[in-house]
């Protein structure tokens, strides 16, 4: 088979070169479809990473009753540290809480001066292990914590993390729907490109069979033509994505003080996967074309 490969590749390349416009259109379409999918993938992996990172910063706040004794605080801390979900638990006394608030208010700290007593509760800031940061896992934890002794209230910054999670889910859904539709269109376009080539060369193929070419020999260049279109489309998508990533995303300012260096490009496995997917779609398109057109 290897002996034939050079002939097949040469023939496939010359087929591509004989209809440069048609070939370019189908490569560009495939490139675009893969680009959209890859862009969704890129954004969603980054949003996912962002979510995970933010969940690391976000802590569960456990507010204590005002009359809690120091022994009860230590007992609670020991109990919190034993929870499988716990990464760390930091105690913030009433005085510390007031200090923190003063610092945050800065110039307007004088607002607090009229206070007769400290209204802020003591609390624990409980950070969670990475595996336990999903809303599904946090919710029951919060319920459990509420029933701990001396616990007045439990709070978690749902708002922010759930918004991010819904954005992430939206991207996942969008990638699936748009990507799926584009794939269908791409396979259709590639198979049509190859059908046109096969159709235009019916006579030539008949002659090849007459002088002893096997079906495999006749078909292989068309399969390779499809694979090459897919490969070029995949590489095009990767190149465009890389350009977009470095020219566009780096110019955007992100909220929450996030910087570009927290955003990462596709991993090399993902990049090769993208190119491989293009290759596979090209092969699929040409298989469909040949299946219909080459039955004698």
């Amino acid at each position: 088979m290897l002996r034939f490969l050079s002939y097949f590749v040469r023939t496939a390349l010359s087929n591509l070169a004989q209809n440069p416009f048609v070939s370019l259109v189908s490569i560009a379409t495939l490139g675009l479809a893969l680009l959209i999918l890859a862009a969704f993938l890129l954004i969603s992996t980054n949003v996912k990473a962002l979510l995970a990172a933010s969940a690391g910063h976000l802590a569960v706040s456990i507010y204590l009753e005002d009359d809690t004794q120091p022994e009860a605080v230590s007992a609670l801390k020991a109990r919190l540290l034993k929870l499988p979900e716990t990464q760390g638990a930091v105690y913030i006394s009433k005085a510390q809480a007031l200090e923190d608030l003063k610092r945050r208010l800065g110039a307007r700290a004088d607002l607090l001066e009229g206070l007769e007593e400290n209204p802020l509760p003591a609390s624990f800031e409980l950070t969670l292990k990475e595996a336990y940061r999903s809303p599904e896992q946090i919710r029951p934890l919060l319920t459990r914590l509420e029933h701990f002794p001396q616990v007045a209230d439990v709070d978690y910054a749902w708002d922010w993390s759930e918004k991010l999670a819904s954005v992430f889910n939206f991207f996942k859904l969008g990638a699936l729907v748009v990507g799926g539709l584009l794939f269908l269109a791409t396979v259709f376009i590639i198979s049509n490109t190859i059908k046109l080539t096969v159709y235009a060369r019916q006579e030539e193929l008949a002659i090849m069979r007459l002088i002893g070419a096997s079906e495999g020999f006749v078909r292989a260049p068309f399969l390779i033509e499809g694979i090459l279109q897919g490969l070029f489309g995949g590489l095009l998508a990767l190149a465009l994505l890389w350009l977009m990533f470095h020219l566009v995303i780096s110019q955007v300012e992100f909220p929450l003080g996030l910087t570009m260096n927290e955003w990462r490009f596709l991993s090399s496995a993902e990049s090769w996967g993208l190119v491989g997917l293009g290759l596979f779609l090209g092969l699929l398109g040409s298989l469909i074309a040949l299946g219909r057109f080459m039955r004698e």
Binding site: F4, Y7, E204, M208, L210, I211, G212, A213, E215
Partner: protein, 216 residues
């Protein structure tokens, strides 16, 4: 090498060949003659497995074509070099590529192909046409390219359908000498023709077809 037993070929309702039986031995050179529509081309098509036999049996190199499985057909055709009446050259490939294709099909090495095609084109006096495309060539030149492609794979059998049609007598003799030399190299040659001059000069075995029947 080729055995025909009661071979009949029917297209629709019309019989192109009726009950033809003959044997062609290995290394023989046989003319197939007869007026247009006598069934000469049909007979060659059957031997090449281009068409199935309607009735009767054809054995080529001890293989019964009727029982040949489709995936065996390419290997059968590679034993045969065929020169078609309309040449059947690939118009968008050069002369060199047309001749080389036969060797590419059998998976020959590229260096071997380069060398062998060049030598053969030189033998046939068309070396200078290597980079030309068939539509740019005269009938006689295309004829030689077609013969070169038929010869390049060293076939056991050479089928030539009117290889001297449309050529003047000098050119016809030239082509005929070429086929004779292939025959001397060991190939069995079947040549369909109605070139009387050649037949008289050559004094070789003749299968005479008329209205699809073998008459002599």
């Amino acid at each position: 090498m080729i055995q025909l037993y009661g071979v009949t070929k029917i297209y629709g309702r019309k019989a192109a060949l009726t009950d033809v039986s003959a044997r062609v031995g290995q290394g023989e050179f046989v003319f197939i003659v007869g007026p247009s529509g006598a069934g000469k081309t049909t007979l060659l098509k059957l031997i090449l497995c281009q068409e199935p036999v309607s009735r009767g049996e054809i054995l080529v190199d001890r293989q019964n074509l009727k029982r040949m499985r489709p995936h065996r057909v390419p290997a059968h055709r590679r034993k045969i070099g065929a020169v078609f009446q309309d040449f059947k050259l690939l118009p968008n490939r050069t002369v060199f590529q047309n001749v080389a294709l036969r060797l590419e099909i059998q998976g020959a090495r590229r260096s071997f192909i380069q060398k062998k095609v060049r030598v053969l084109l030189r033998q046939l006096g068309i070396e200078s046409l290597g980079e030309a495309f068939p539509p740019q060539l005269s009938g006689g030149e295309q004829q030689r390219v077609a013969i070169a492609r038929a010869m390049i794979g060293d076939p056991k059998i050479l089928l030539a359908d009117e290889p001297t049609g449309n050529l003047d007598l000098d050119m016809s003799r030239n082509i005929f000498q070429l086929l004779l030399s292939i025959n001397r190299g060991g190939a069995t040659v079947l040549m369909a023709t109605h070139n009387r001059e050649l037949l008289q000069e050559a004094n070789l075995r003749i299968l005479h077809l008329d209205k699809g029947r073998l008459v002599a």
